[in-house]
């Protein structure tokens, strides 16, 4: 079991939370969608596992490099 801290790769805002903390996630599945430059940019699970932690809510601003969630795989 390893924790994957997932960082935003772009500065923007959290547009939609797709998965909630505690839920199972598949590799490549969208956990949330950021909005930046009028585009919807998904944050995806790097591996199959469980969404251990959500660190942002819809509408929150995020900067590139901010950890937005943690997946335990």
């Amino acid at each position: 079991m390893a924790d994957h801290e997932i960082a935003a790769d772009v500065t923007g805002t959290v547009w939609k939370i797709v998965r909630q903390a505690g839920e199972a996630v598949a590799e490549g599945e969208a956990i949330m969608i950021l909005e930046s430059m009028k585009m919807e940019i998904p944050i995806e699970a790097p591996a199959a596992g469980r969404l251990a932690e959500l660190r942002v809510a819809e509408g929150d601003p995020v900067a590139e490099g901010d950890i937005v969630c943690v997946v335990t795989a």
């Binding site: 790769d9 430059m37 009028k38 585009m39 940019i41």
Partner: protein, 518 residues
């Protein structure tokens, strides 16, 4: 020994003895430890690279020339050099033998590298470096006499004029010359577990008191994701060497010939067209992975991506179109919506310089909302990086074909070949072209004025309508608007039109002496 005993037979035996000693490298124990660790030795790496039976070694009997040095302990002086063939084409090889004094650089082995470099450059074929060395040999290089004798005696040692391609594999700890040659190369692959840095963790600890693990100082993640000094990562020595073979298959032997043509794949049919339709989202707000688009357009299985984990808002790589080598420069909406940041600019610049230097036509696939803006980019000299990229594009003399697939905004429109920055601008029907996204443009033009929401929406709709591809086609700023599924066939035809027949496919190489790191 009597004079009569000095026979040809004895001389032949001495030759055999010396050859055997050289081929024993650093001894059975050290070689066995490498085998146990799953590492190839210097000879095995060469064998993996070249066509069987094609290698001729240069300097097998060379040893250290340092006063008082034990000649017996420096077989080949720690670096194996010579000439072979890869897929029937000539190549020079430098393979560091870490089992001999850590393959450290000394007077004799630097002469060996200088020789094969000079031959490859003057006769016109690639050089491959297998990096694994500890840096300058100690104590040979110590003191004023050591420095004066050993270093700096070749004024061309670190000059890259890109006469022929260079490829490097980082296959162990690389400090000193192995790191330098890697950075000077057109292609660099790194095996996981290897390290490349200016100096070792030991020296970092001794000199500045910094305690750092080799992986953190110069491991594969750092160089593939952060510095971009590495083009690809491999799990094993064998995989790394195979990647070099593949890289070389796209390149000409030297800058005065066109790249080799592979067998065309024949008809690439509906499957590729369907992949394009499936990849392109309906909504202009949704992202997709440009690499899927690239793979659907080029010859099946031919896409060889460079720096996939670095500057990911851009995609660069070699590929083939109907057997012809091409260079792909593309935006990737999957990362940062395709808005290029400083690493993406550096990646594009370096790739453009390489393609232009070796007569590789360029295909630019465009889907970008512009360059990344904001504090972080400015701190990293974004304007300068954007101009490096732009200058490189304008100085290219190889054919450049640009395909606007969706968004093309602002200065990025020019950097991605818009206007006369490519030989042909081709657009898809859904393309949108403007100085900035209408949503932001409304904010700019209404700044400081009291404008109601309805008026804003009217302005936005007008701007969006004016950004469609039809305006570009009407004023001949696009030479063709085509259905996405016709892209492959159209590009193959336009590559034929733009083949540089006047020079036999050879460009002017105006950036041949540009740096190798930006």
């Amino acid at each position: 020994m009597a004079a009569d005993d000095d026979t040809a037979e004895l001389r032949a035996r001495e030759l055999q003895d010396r050859e055997a000693r050289a081929r024993a490298m650093g001894g059975a124990a050290k070689l066995a430890r490498r085998r146990e660790a799953g590492l190839l030795n210097a000879e095995e790496r060469v064998e993996r690279l070249v066509d069987p039976g094609s290698f001729v070694e240069s300097g097998l009997l060379a040893v250290s020339s340092a006063p008082g040095a034990d000649r017996e302990s420096t077989p080949r002086d720690g670096k194996l050099t010579g000439f072979g063939r890869v897929d029937g084409r000539p190549v020079a090889v430098v393979s560091n033998d870490f089992t001999v004094k850590g393959a450290s650089s000394s007077q004799t082995n630097m002469k060996k590298i200088g020789h094969v470099k000079r031959v490859a450059t003057e006769r016109g074929f690639p050089i491959v470096f297998f990096g694994e060395s500890s840096g300058a040999r100690m104590p040979d290089n110590m003191g004023a006499r050591g420095m004066g004798t050993q270093l700096g005696n070749d004024p061309q040692q670190y000059v890259r004029e890109r006469e022929s391609p260079w490829a490097s594999a980082v296959l162990g700890q690389c400090y000193g010359s192995s790191a330098w040659y890697t950075c000077l190369s057109d292609f660099a692959v790194m095996r996981k577990g290897a390290t490349m840095a200016v100096a070792s963790p030991l020296l970092a600890s001794a000199a500045i008191g910094q305690t750092v693990e080799p992986e953190e100082l110069g491991g594969w993640k750092l160089h593939s994701e952060v510095t971009g000094l590495i083009d690809r990562v491999a799990e094993t020595d064998e995989e790394a060497i195979d990647l070099i073979r593949r890289f070389l298959s796209y390149l000409p032997a030297h800058r005065n010939e066109a790249p080799p043509r592979a067998e065309p794949p024949g008809v690439v049919g509906d499957e590729a067209a369907a992949a394009i339709r499936k990849t392109l989202p309906e909504s202009r707000r949704q992202v997709y992975d440009m690499r899927k688009m690239v793979e659907a357009i080029v010859d099946p299985g031919s896409f060889f991506e460079m720096k996939p984990a670095f500057g990911r808002a851009a995609v660069t790589g070699l590929a083939r179109m109907d057997g012809q080598t091409v260079g792909i420069v593309a935006n990737n909406p999957r990362h940062k919506a395709g808005a290029m940041d400083v690493p993406a600019c550096e990646k594009c610049t370096r790739f453009l310089v390489m393609c232009d230097s070796f007569n590789i036509p360029l295909l630019l696939f465009v889907d970008t909302p512009g360059f990344v803006i904001g504090v972080e980019g400015e701190r990293m000299k974004a304007p300068g990086k954007i101009m490096n990229f732009m200058t490189a594009l304008q100085m290219c003399t190889v054919p450049k074909l640009s395909v606007i697939m969706r968004k093309s905004y602002g200065q990025a429109y020019l950097n991605m070949g818009g206007g006369r920055n490519s030989d042909e601008v081709i657009a898809w029907p859904g393309a949108e072209i403007s100085f900035m996204d209408p949503a932001y443009a409304v904010e700019v033009v209404t700044w400081g004025r009291d404008v109601d929401e309805a008026e804003r929406e009217r302005l936005r709709a007008d701007m969006a309508r004016d950004s469609t591809v039809w305006g570009l086609a009407e004023i001949f700023a696009a030479q063709a608007v085509i259905a996405p599924e016709d892209t492959r066939a159209h590009l193959i035809r336009m590559l034929e039109v733009h083949q540089t027949g006047l020079t036999g496919g050879i460009g002017r190489h105006r950036m041949a002496g540009w740096p190798t790191t930006y």
